[in-house]
Symmetry: C2
Subunit: 408 residues, 2 copies
């Protein structure tokens, strides 16, 4: 590991205008002055990506994904050039690169590409010359030099991948919040910033809707044991360190509580209870690239059963159309859906060694007369589907119940 | 020559918004439907380049030219992606490329690079698949894959270079005016569109301030005999064809009259009249990358003389600083400058075979009591420096005198 090398990633809100870019440059230079080698990954300025997508949607509702990548990858290119100029202005050497120039090689899945290789030669050369190396986040190229992008939150992935191949001592993720919180501070006033959290917990939190860090990046950081520090670009305070599990972490029963209102529930009714039916339903879903979250199928006594699952709300129309067809094929009784749901989850590696978290959760919800319609669990997570209008209340009661507020 | 291949270039005003981009796509598709292979070169949307430069200037007054190129090259990348989507929307196949992807190789002079090679392989492959190929204008890469830009009007150069290497039958330059005019229609109400003009004349007109086409592109088109058609993207009318000289062109004495108000005059006074002095003055200027336009040095009888020259107004501060130093070195009497000038020029290959154009020009100006302070001539051009506030009147009287208005 290279103790003098740090990868810093700055999100869109951190580089929202030229004043903020100057502030980022100051921070970068302050690290450089301490003797660190710095590789900076930058997102597009503020809402640039959305603005570019809006332009495209004025032209066509079904743009080619290749051309979308050509279009939106310009956002990060603008950022890196401006940040390099800002570092120059402060008297330090810096050089910017696009994903293509630096050799971030991906597969060819436009708009959601995966990094398959990173060439470090150019970066190493420029670091050796004493330069701050500034890399456009969120983008790469495939083997044919077609421009690709890595999907929402893709700049996190760029940063983690660079930290890995460069053997960096730390990957700092700068954002507009001070770290990872026990719950969304907009919902729970006394939510607390976590000083430290394990990769596994962060992965669950990210997957469950905490937007501070892209889930896939956490997976990769975990796999290669790259320490991540999530912190605010508007403050000098330390944020949250994401590292491998240490013994002390187990003493904390629950690390965080999340709320996700982006899912919808689909139920296939009166499904004949015979082998192969579930495979038929979920095979069709997978073949259509729809991501399923929770699945519930009760064992039936009547020969028929209901199968329920949740999908991203955006995938609901596609899912309904598909399930109508499947329902006829398998002789089910019909399809119903429910968009009016919220998923509330508690996450913590302490659950592994402590029982009773589930019952505490259910009791707390019951005490507020919050009805649970689906439950799913993993080793370090319990999720419940509740009515959407009860979602925030559920988060607050659980936050209090698990004693984050400091009083019960 | 490939009779079925046309290169079309659309300037920034032609792709100023998504509606205009759709119109460009319609025109491209109409040509495609006639069976032509089409390579399209696009500039950045409207004022994008200036807006990006304004962002940079908020950060630093002295940005690195490498980073400027990184920044402003995004403008054309946005255009090509949007235009490809628009062509798709109309049901035709199209693919966009950056200058880097398509293999437009330049030297390393950032912000004013020159094209040294163009790789046609990728374009040929996509044309062979029946696709409209859309290339980002104004940009390329050097041998190290650093992004470069070609200077103002550089998209014209991209189009002409592609027309050359692809052996296209025609290079169409779409802009917001209907062609090349005998004078600026904003100054001369009855200015006439020229149907046809020679490369040499267009080169002089472009160099003298007609903004419709970049001078360097005309040089290249002339060298390789590539026919250019300058026309409006907002009309179906034919514009102006720029071709090699044909006999009939010589019957037209003067093809156009231009006005340039972007120059300033510098005079070095009481210069000792001895060998090597002019070389000293203009050597210093060249070494500082300042472009000189007109030079006047009268033979002196007293042993001292005044040397006057014109530079771009923007170069005046730099020039004055430099000349103060040179003036001391050579023992001259001092430096004066005059920003209050305009250059009015008449251009026409007919001048070659007809005498009297110069005296007609001087008489016409004298008839309006317009004083001439400097004169310079080429084989097909005569330029006069007059007071700035007389510039437009000078253009009008010359336009009338050379009978463009149809009545004298």
């Amino acid at each position: 590991m290279d103790d003098r090398l740090i990868v810093q990633k700055y999100g869109g809100t951190s580089v929202g205008n030229t004043g903020k870019i100057m502030n980022v440059a100051k921070r970068v230079v302050s690290y450089r002055n301490k003797g660190y080698d710095i590789v900076v990954v930058v997102s597009a300025l503020g809402d640039t990506t959305d603005e570019l997508l809006a332009l495209a949607s004025k032209i066509t509702k079904t743009p080619s994904e290749r051309e979308i990548d050509m279009l939106i990858s310009t956002g990060e290119q603008v950022s890196v050039a401006l940040l390099a100029m800002a570092v120059h202005k402060l008297g330090k050497e810096a050089i910017s690169f696009t994903g293509s120039q630096v050799g971030i090689i991906t597969d060819s899945s436009h708009t959601k590409a995966r990094i398959i290789d990173v060439n470090t030669k150019k970066i190493q050369e420029e670091l050796a010359k004493g330069k701050v190396v500034i890399v456009a986040g969120f983008q790469g190229t495939n083997m044919d030099r077609e421009i690709t992008t890595l999907g929402r939150g893709g700049s996190d992935m760029t940063a983690v991948a660079l930290a890995k191949v460069l053997n960096a001592s730390l990957c700092e993720i700068y954002t507009d919040v001070e770290g990872v919180y026990t719950a969304d501070p907009r919902i729970v006033k006394d939510a607390k910033k976590l000083d430290r959290i394990s990769y596994e917990e962060m992965l669950e939190l990210a997957s469950l809707g905490a937007q501070v860090l892209q889930a896939r990046s956490v997976e990769v950081a975990s796999k290669f044991n790259i320490p991540i520090h999530v912190r605010s670009s508007f403050s000098e305070k330390e944020g949250t360190f994401i590292t491998k599990e240490v013994k002390a972490m187990e003493d904390v029963l629950v690390s965080g509580i999340t709320l996700n209102k982006d899912e919808a529930k689909v139920t296939v009714r009166d499904v004949p209870d015979k082998p192969g039916i579930a495979a038929h339903i979920f095979g069709a879903i997978a073949a259509n690239d729809i991501n399923i979250d929770m699945i519930i199928q009760n064992v039936s006594r009547t020969g028929c059963t209901d199968v329920s699952f949740t999908v991203m709300a955006g995938d609901l129309p596609k899912t309904m159309k598909l399930m109508k067809k499947v329902s006829e094929e398998i002789g089910a009784g019909g399809i119903i859906f429910d968009k009016d749901i919220a998923k509330v989850s508690v996450v913590g590696i302490g659950m592994r060694s402590h029982s009773g978290v589930a019952s505490t959760m259910f009791s707390a919800l019951a005490s507020k007369k919050i009805n649970i319609s689906m439950i799913s669990t993993s080793e370090i997570k319990i999720s419940c589907i509740v009515r959407r209008n009860k979602g925030e209340e559920a988060v607050r009661v659980l936050h209090k119940e698990f004693n984050f507020g400091g009083k019960k």
